[in-house]
């Protein structure tokens, strides 16, 4: 059953790619993409609950397990929300002849982020992650402004360089495994995990660090995050949402899976500590740049750096609570950051600028979209009653072990700084007097409001109630990571 659903998840966006590439009609491309996103999300939602025991397909190249299925769920939801939002947003671009190209790339990008977590081979996974870069570069540069091309160029150069380190690490993992499994074998996650206890742990440590830096670049962990604010702020808003809510998680999966393998190879302390340190750095960088930020989309981008740091801390602390918190945070962040980018897109279009200094009295001009955006801002800082409060609390509790208390304490301080810094920007945008310029548009558009509502409502629900159905999923994921069947 889970294989059938996974196949639907992988086929639907590809069908949309084919259709959008073939057509010249903007409306048809729009609908094809939206339909594909709906089908994908419908198939992806039940997936994690059916994947308690890992299922294989395509000669073992495809793996549906709790961790992968969960990331796919997050990516599919963001894909759906972003597709709904894109309908309204991209029409404003007023270039209908380029829309089929946009949706071709968009569905293709969504497909790569959905495929990578399901790939059951460290080499193939690397290729899938590399593909996400190649497709999304053109989405980042889609608007062809000097800024967006600059962002796209920096994105592809920085991320390709980072990923080449991940490739080196992957080759070294293969080499370490070949000492146990013979010169030629399929580098599945299971094969690596099985061989791990007999691998040379010096070599595996080096390999893991390379992979951590490599995929960490893609996941936006500081200090390799430099491409992220540019790419997130210069791409069209639906693309920013997909980058932040889907792509970053996709890259984090590889780190998590290989960390489990490295730990089985006898490098018990270092992988977790390295991940915690990078997570901590990401939170510091996020906090510093959030406080002094001027661009509204860059604010959201640095908040993504911060939240990837929080997830890295969760996985780094480990244990069933840490992993559960990180996975829950992944979903919450995916929904919340989509909401935030959608709101930023609306305001950017309405006020005609990304500069927060020109965005004033949002609440009185946009009663509905403004209220949703403000609620999202409260949520993203980790305040109750929203989902991120619960997941950050879980991660914080997971960190209260003798090894990592220092990290948990620093995390708490940084969260307070970010809370104050982030909401201060919103206070000024909502309640500061004297609008320098009136917004050019007064309405947010039905598609935008619908997408924001659909992203915001579950966020509140997930904050009030941690669904008990999720517990077995998180438990299976953390047990698989600890038990060496990643």
């Amino acid at each position: 059953m889970s294989i059938v659903l996974a196949s639907i998840v992988l086929i639907a966006p590809l069908a949309a790619v084919a259709l959008c590439a073939a057509t010249r009609s903007a409306r048809l491309a729009e609908r094809a993409n939206l339909l594909a996103a709906l089908v994908t999300a419908a198939a992806a939602v039940p997936l994690p609950f059916l994947a308690a025991t890992p299922q294989f397909a395509m000669d073992g190249y495809l793996l549906v397990d709790s961790l992968g299925a969960w990331v796919v769920l997050c990516a599919a939801l963001v894909y759906l929300l972003a597709s709904i939002y894109a309908v309204g947003y991209m029409r404003l671009l007023d270039e209908p002849q380029r829309l089929p190209l946009f949706y071709t790339l968009f569905a293709g990008f969504a497909w790569t982020t959905l495929a990578a977590p399901l790939v059951n081979n460290a080499g193939m996974y690397w290729i899938a992650v590399e593909l996400t870069t190649l497709v999304s570069t053109f989405l980042v540069g889609f608007e062809h402004a000097a800024e967006s091309i600059e962002a796209a160029w920096k994105y592809i150069v920085v991320v390709s360089a980072g990923l080449s380190l991940a490739l080196l690490g992957t080759v070294l993992f293969y080499w370490a495994g070949s000492a146990v499994l013979g010169p030629s074998y399929d580098m599945t996650w299971q094969a690596l995990a099985q061989a791990a206890p007999r691998m040379s742990h010096t070599l595996v440590t080096l390999a893991f660090l390379l992979v951590l830096v490599g995929y960490g670049t893609k996941a936006g962990l500081a200090p390799m995050h430099t491409w992220l604010p540019d790419a997130h702020s210069e791409g069209p808003a639906p693309v920013s949402a997909l980058l932040s809510g889907a792509l970053l998680n996709t890259a984090l999966v590889g780190i998590v899976r290989l960390k489990a393998i490295a730990e089985r190879a006898g490098a018990t302390v270092l992988p977790g500590t390295a991940l915690v340190v990078l997570g901590m750095l990401s939170m510091v960088v996020g906090a510093l740049f959030i406080v002094r930020q001027r661009g509204v989309k860059r604010l959201m981008a640095y908040s993504s750096v911060e939240h990837m740091g929080v997830m890295a801390l969760g996985f780094g602390f480990g244990g069933s609570l840490g992993v559960a918190g990180a996975l829950y945070h992944m979903l919450n962040h995916a929904l919340n950051k989509s909401l935030m980018f959608f709101g930023s897109g609306v305001m950017m279009r309405a006020y005609g600028t990304k500069d927060m200094a020109a965005i004033r009295r949002v609440g009185s001009y946009f009663p509905v979209a403004g209220a949703l955006w403000l609620a999202g801002a409260v949520a993203i800082t980790g305040a109750p009653p929203f989902g991120l409060f619960l997941s950050e609390l879980a991660i914080l509790r997971a960190g209260l072990t003798p090894d990592y208390t220092w990290a948990a304490v620093i995390m708490l301080v940084l969260l307070v700084v970010i809370f104050a810094g982030f909401l201060n920007h919103f206070r000024i945008m909502y309640y500061s007097p004297a609008p320098a310029s009136e917004p050019q548009a007064r309405t947010a558009g039905p598609w935008s409001v619908a997408a924001m509502l659909l992203a915001g409502a579950p966020l509140l629900l997930l904050g009030l109630w941690w669904p008990s159905a999720l517990t077995p999923v998180f438990h299976a994921a953390s047990a698989a990571l600890a038990g060496g069947h990643p």
Partner: protein, 226 residues
């Protein structure tokens, strides 16, 4: 440890090819003419293709002949051709403003090789002292990695950055031929293909850079900060 033991002739052939590739990486570091980079890269790819073929012969892995052929075609001919096209279209022939002179860069490259050697010895020790070819391959792989990053850091022209990335890839490819000759063919093929797509993407983006940002030098790409 299941690494194959090679005859002295094979071992010296591998060493020669690996060192030749490393020297070509230094040629790129020492020159400021973009065309030199491209020729050095093409030649390096041919050396790696030869290495694959030799490894296929001595380690009896027939798949490596296919890899050798494809490496020569893709990396040795097609990629340099694509880069030449990009070069012509951009109309830039050398690095104009070098912050660090080629001579200094060469010294930094040499330091990178020393670091790579130290790491390789450490790893080789942990792997139970494999043959010197393996240590050499590991050293060359890591050195080319570091040199590629050096290129990315000190050169600003778009084309130099593409070539820097290609050196990174070549280094990994060279190392993997010696360290893991049995790596599944499928992976290597897809990586080759991926590289081709990547260079095509870089080409398109470089054109956009000229059209929309008006420059191909990363020194002038400074609109986005903070």
């Amino acid at each position: 440890m299941t690494l194959p033991q090679f005859t002295p002739l094979a071992a010296s052939l591998f060493s020669l090819l690996a060192i030749g590739s490393l020297l070509l990486a230094f040629v790129m570091l020492g020159s400021r003419w973009l065309r030199d980079y491209m020729y050095a890269f093409g030649l390096q790819s041919w050396l790696i293709a030869l290495l694959s073929a030799a490894m296929g012969h001595y380690a009896q892995v027939p798949e490596l002949y296919v890899i050798a052929l494809l490496t020569a075609l893709f990396r040795g001919l097609l990629l340099p051709y694509l880069i030449l096209r990009i070069l012509r279209r951009l109309g830039v022939d050398r690095e104009l403003r070098l912050k660090i002179q080629p001579a200094t860069t060469l010294v930094m490259g040499a330091a990178a090789v020393v670091l790579a050697l130290a790491v390789s010895y450490r790893i080789a020790g942990a792997m139970g002292n494999p043959s010197s070819v393996v240590v050499l391959a590991l050293t060359v792989m890591l050195s080319m990695k570091l040199i590629g990053f050096l290129m990315l850091a000190v050169r600003h022209e778009a084309i130099s950055q593409i070539l820097g990335l290609l050196i990174l890839e070549n280094g990994i490819f060279l190392g993997s031929q010696v360290l893991v000759p049995g790596m599944p063919l499928l992976i290597e093929l897809v990586i080759l293909f991926d590289l081709l797509v990547a260079v095509a993407c870089f080409g398109v983006l470089a054109r956009y850079l000229v059209e929309h940002a008006g420059t191909t030098s990363s020194l002038e790409l400074r609109r986005l900060v903070g």
